[in-house]
Symmetry: C2
Subunit: 346 residues, 2 copies
DNA sequence: CTGAAAGCGCTAACAG
DNA sequence: CTGTTAGCGCTTTCAG
């Protein structure tokens, strides 16, 4: 016999399927004679009955699934977030459908369509794109969602993001405390909300601390990658900028700096201090271990999950933005400037 | 109006839902007047109709989903495998449901149950456990599946695994070529099939190359983690073993060695050469960059996907095992022995 | 408290 | 070629 159905249980218990259904569902169990309920339940699990959520979903219009849209699963940023999400979704009886968009807008459209056709009850979206017609459309169509890593401007949408402002300030202040004054910024792409937020925070922090906020000391990296980080630092140096420390908008960009330093025969932190952002795994194994601003990824995923579940349960609840506090993790890539005598100079 | 149903399309086109269904499904489109079909299709997408795979699944007993069971998503080994899988599943119209078991057997049972109740059509399983009643049970119940990273002994089950034998031999030969003769093994847990296979391959390779296969030169790590790797190397040193190189059964265990070396004031590769296994990301950024045996993760996922799709399409096809060729990636953690004069010694 | 009946959206015989 | 009928497994009125 194949996996038993509700009918089989009902037959075996000598009751109507409807009664069996009520007995088996904790929420409706009260509607049924305690004795009958007990019997049905016993029979159900002696038969190894497992309810079929698909059939249930067809009736109730609840699939028990939520769509998770991320740029790329192999970006080490995401797995811990996904675990955090999973840890709240699973106990609530939800399963996540994860898709990787590779940052491709059309692919994202297609994948979101496919998720919606699979009747997901909500979406967790991790695009950083500033401009995003798709999101606005989804929002206007009443799709429940929460954004992570991006706070949508104008849009009344749930979000959970690291507090970029305090994160960057932590980084800048740390460098200032070490005695750095000429601090450069390798900004992330300004087409992304995090890129913009971190850049803005950098300039604000510099001014707040009375440090020179020289435009020549910051440059935009085209992508959030090592290659772009390397290119950025090279360009800064080629332009003749002088600085003893650099704040990278994320860890991968910081790693790109390591490549450039190696290729120029410079040393970190002696010749240049570097601070990353995110707190990826294995940063402590690098040479030198990277000082970074750590984000509570797992918690971020968890908050996103909770927000989404609430949005599903209470559709009228207004959207909320939760900001997670980042932490400065000091490691070997930052030190007082000029330890080996001379500042970085072209 | 909510998302339109097949009925809406049929009504708008003035045909019966069944006809609309046939027209919309490429496989049955031939059964319908080309003209009618065209009209239905046009109406369908003018209405923005998207078929509901859940309803379809209920009827056809095909959910279009695959369960993917891994120990831990945050293990950097898995994301590329999952991408490889996704890249073959998605075009085939399948979606993966990913669960992390944390290596916990009970949790695994529960999660697999939950996947099965969600009517997955097949399972991709990445447990390395040697003993695994659950797998045998699933197999005997006729669940379509493919194992990754583990070749089940006895069980007639599809699998795709790296060729541990040639991988380890590559590692040992590389060290031998550099002039090492006393090579230690930090074995993985012998409760896992990969742990056993790699250990066996190590001993065989040593003997084949005429090197001393001294039992004192190998030790089993309790888990595949940095901590266990560190503990293993410490134990080996504490026991007074002499060796100039170590083969770690995976990259994390190798990273554990770095910690011990740092804590003892020893240097890699000068005092000890280290080679890892897997080819995790960011290994090239470590200090020193880790020499490792790289596995084609993405391809591994892809093969697993293909095998599973075939197993679903042709249930009677006999199971197959595909072995993927690993590659030696030489980096800074290996060099000739005794570069700085003295071998590692307690 | 329990049974009967209907239907979620779709597809698969079976007629016509 | 197309319409009718029935039903996937479950829940939910509505009666009783």
């Amino acid at each position: 016999m194949q996996t038993p159905t509700l009918r089989d249980v009902a037959d075996a218990a000598g009751v109507h399927p409807a009664t069996a259904s009520r007995a088996l569902n904790p929420a409706t169990r009260g509607l049924v004679n305690a004795e009958t309920a007990r019997r049905v339940i016993k029979i159900a699990d002696s038969l190894g009955y497992r309810p079929n959520p698909i059939a249930r979903g067809l009736k109730t219009a609840k699939s028990g699934t939520i769509g998770i849209v991320i740029p790329d699963l192999t970006n080490p940023l995401f797995p811990p977030i996904l675990r955090g999400l999973e840890d709240v979704l699973e106990p609530a009886g939800y399963t996540g459908l994860i898709v990787s968009t590779d940052g491709d807008y059309d692919r994202e459209r297609t994948l979101v369509e496919s998720l919606r056709s699979r009747q997901v009850e909500g979406l967790v979206v991790a695009t950083a794109m500033l401009e995003h017609p798709l999101l606005e459309q989804l929002h206007s169509e009443g799709v429940r969602m929460v954004m992570i890593n991006r706070r949508p401007r104008g849009l009344d949408v749930n979000s959970v993001t690291p507090d970029d402002g305090v994160g960057i300030e932590l980084a800048v202040r740390h460098l200032a405390d070490l005695g750095h004054t000429r601090i450069a910024l390798l900004a992330g792409p300004q087409t992304t909300s995090t890129g913009v937020a971190r850049s803005r925070a950098f300039h604000t922090s510099m001014r707040d601390l009375g440090l020179p906020d020289d435009p020549a000391l910051s440059i935009e990296c085209a992508t959030w990658t090592e290659a772009a980080g390397a290119a950025g630092l090279r360009a800064l140096r080629a332009a003749g900028a002088e600085f003893t420390a650099v704040v990278a908008s994320n860890d991968l960009i910081a790693l790109g700096c390591y490549d450039v330093l190696a290729e120029c025969g410079l040393r970190c932190p002696d010749d240049l201090s570097v601070v990353g952002f995110n707190g990826m795994p294995f940063l402590d194994k690098l040479a030198p271990p990277l000082t970074t601003i750590a984000i509570p990824h797992h918690q971020l995923g968890g908050e996103a999950g909770r927000l989404l579940l609430e949005a599903i349960a209470e559709p009228d609840r207004p959207a909320r933005s939760v900001l997670l506090p980042p932490a400065l993790v000091v490691r070997g890539s930052t030190d007082s400037p000029g330890r080996s005598g001379r500042p970085t100079r072209q």
